[in-house]
Amino acid sequence: MTSLLRVENVDTYYGLIQALRGASLEVQAGGIVALLGANGAGKTTLLKTVMGLLEDQPDKGEIFFDGQPIHGRETEDIARRGIAYVPEGREVFRELTVMENLKIGAYARRDAIGEDLEGIFRYFPRLLERRDQWAGTLSGGEQQMLAIGRALMSRPRLLLLDEPSLGLSPLLVQEIFDIVKSINTDGVTILLVEQNARMALSVASRALVMERGRFVLEGSAEEVAADPDVQEFYLGLATEESVKGFKRYRRKKRWR
């Protein structure tokens, strides 16, 4: 079985700054893959590189979706192949109504969308209530729901979720993640970037950890969760103390 998304040895630059250093990953169809890492590790950059959102990037390396090369393609074409990306910070079209936002999600399709709309409203009943409201007037959580709903309208095979929990209350985070899980159950493969590692690992089947533009750890969600470094740095389960009473962050070096 071929993998749905394969990233091979990708280098990405912002001007002179290298953000990805030979990053490689594979996402198999069906599961939820969580991508963990600290701020600036290159998680969002990886997603943007996959989507072709960065001009002239990737500088090096190859990206395949469903066996077809997509690196160097236009974002529009990549999106039309069946990858949907929910960007960090929601980025809904603030001056379009909820309904219009959803419709624009299905822009690249020509078949009927009524059914899909019903599906979305089943996931997010609250959007139905607010269907004629400007998206900019929604609350953060509702906007996140809208962003996910909009992405689903294109009937993607792969959904890239960037920090869905950002700035949301714990209750809402729980709600969103439940929905993410059920979306996955309905057949959409998900690549999930999260700072909230605990939540991410609870829904994911596999997980990867990024550090400074490269992958340093990969495994099933349970394996990754069991990793002592992950426990210490991402899950906050400090286990040892140094002689001086300070945590030794330097241990990260081990992964190089």
Binding site: M51, T75, E76, E91, Y107, R150
Partner: protein, 295 residues
């Protein structure tokens, strides 16, 4: 001077003039919202389309309607070409740089048109003679002015319908709001931008075809309407279509009121004074809904 007796006539005249400004303003707003460019070539693109219409009509011998349609088709092509050939090529464009590019396009179009057709004014014959008028309640309305107002109103309504009801219009609005995310939706934003330029050029072209019969066809025919259109767009808030339409009407009426009741000498300055006043009170323009500054 019969002060009040003339008022309806002045208002009507202002509205007729203003409806042309409104079209130019709409064209500028469409381009500004989609690509954040102040298109200073708008007027001269319309001028050139008018010449093409005149050529099709007189030299080509086409019937009036088809000649005008041909002019608008040419306008669309010219707009799309400008975007495709110049604006899109700019790498790392800055706002000022883009303005200078449109000025460059303006000069190229202007130079080409005056080379091809010369500087002498010409007449754009229309089925409507300027002397055909209808008098309603003491207000003399020429068919040409009535047609101008009607065509402008129709164009503006059609534009609203297009933007609010059609899928392409939706895509255009989405692109205006967030280009990157629009691409994520599978919208081919470059085509949308090219389409916006074409659309704007067509709307500007309609303005040109309305100015032509009322004045003359010559290389400078669109300078004044273009300035007023720009002013109208800013008055309306630069990002609001309804504002642009309203702004055009307001400027047409204000300057006619001022010209008639105060002085014709400073008539062309008044719209700008009005804008200064208005912006001093409401810096985002009449109908712009937001003016959020990115920090």
């Amino acid at each position: 001077m019969d002060i009040l007796g003339n008022l309806p006539q002045v208002l009507f005249s202002g509205l007729a003039a203003g409806s042309v400004y409104a079209l130019v303003a709409l064209a500028m707003v469409i381009i500004y919202r989609t690509t954040e460019v102040l298109n200073f070539a708008q007027g001269d693109m319309a001028m050139m389309s008018t010449y093409v219409g005149l050529g099709l009509l007189v030299a080509g011998g086409l019937p009036f309607f088809w000649a005008m349609l041909g002019a608008l088709a040419f306008a669309a092509a010219l707009g799309a070409f400008s975007e495709f050939a110049f604006l899109r090529r700019a790498k790392e464009p800055t706002v000022l740089g883009l303005i200078i590019i449109t000025l460059g396009i303006e000069m190229i179009v202007f130079g080409f048109a005056s080379w091809k057709w010369g500087g002498d004014p010409r007449d754009l014959p229309t089925p409507l003679s300027p002397a055909d008028v209808v008098v309603i309640g003491g207000v003399i309305m020429s068919y040409l002015e009535l047609a101008t107002i009607a065509i402008s109103a129709t164009t503006i309504s059609a534009l609203f319908l297009f933007l609010n009801r059609s899928k392409a219009g939706l895509a255009m609005r989405a692109t205006q709001q967030n280009r990157a995310v629009a691409r994520l939706m599978g919208i081919r934003v470059r085509r949308v931008e090219m389409g916006a330029w074409a659309l704007a050029a067509v709307i500007g072209g309609i303005a040109g075809l309305l100015v032509g019969p009322a004045t003359t066809v010559e290389p400078y025919m669109m300078w004044d309407p273009m300035m007023k259109g720009f002013a109208a767009a800013v008055l309306g808030g630069m990002t609001s279509l309804a504002g642009a339409a309203l702004g055009g009407a307001i400027i047409g009426i204000i300057e006619n009121l001022f010209g008639f009741y105060v002085s014709t000498a400073f008539k062309s300055v008044v719209p700008f004074a009005a804008i200064l006043l208005m912006l001093a009170i409401k810096p985002s323009g009449l109908l712009a809904r937001h003016y959020v500054k990115k920090v």
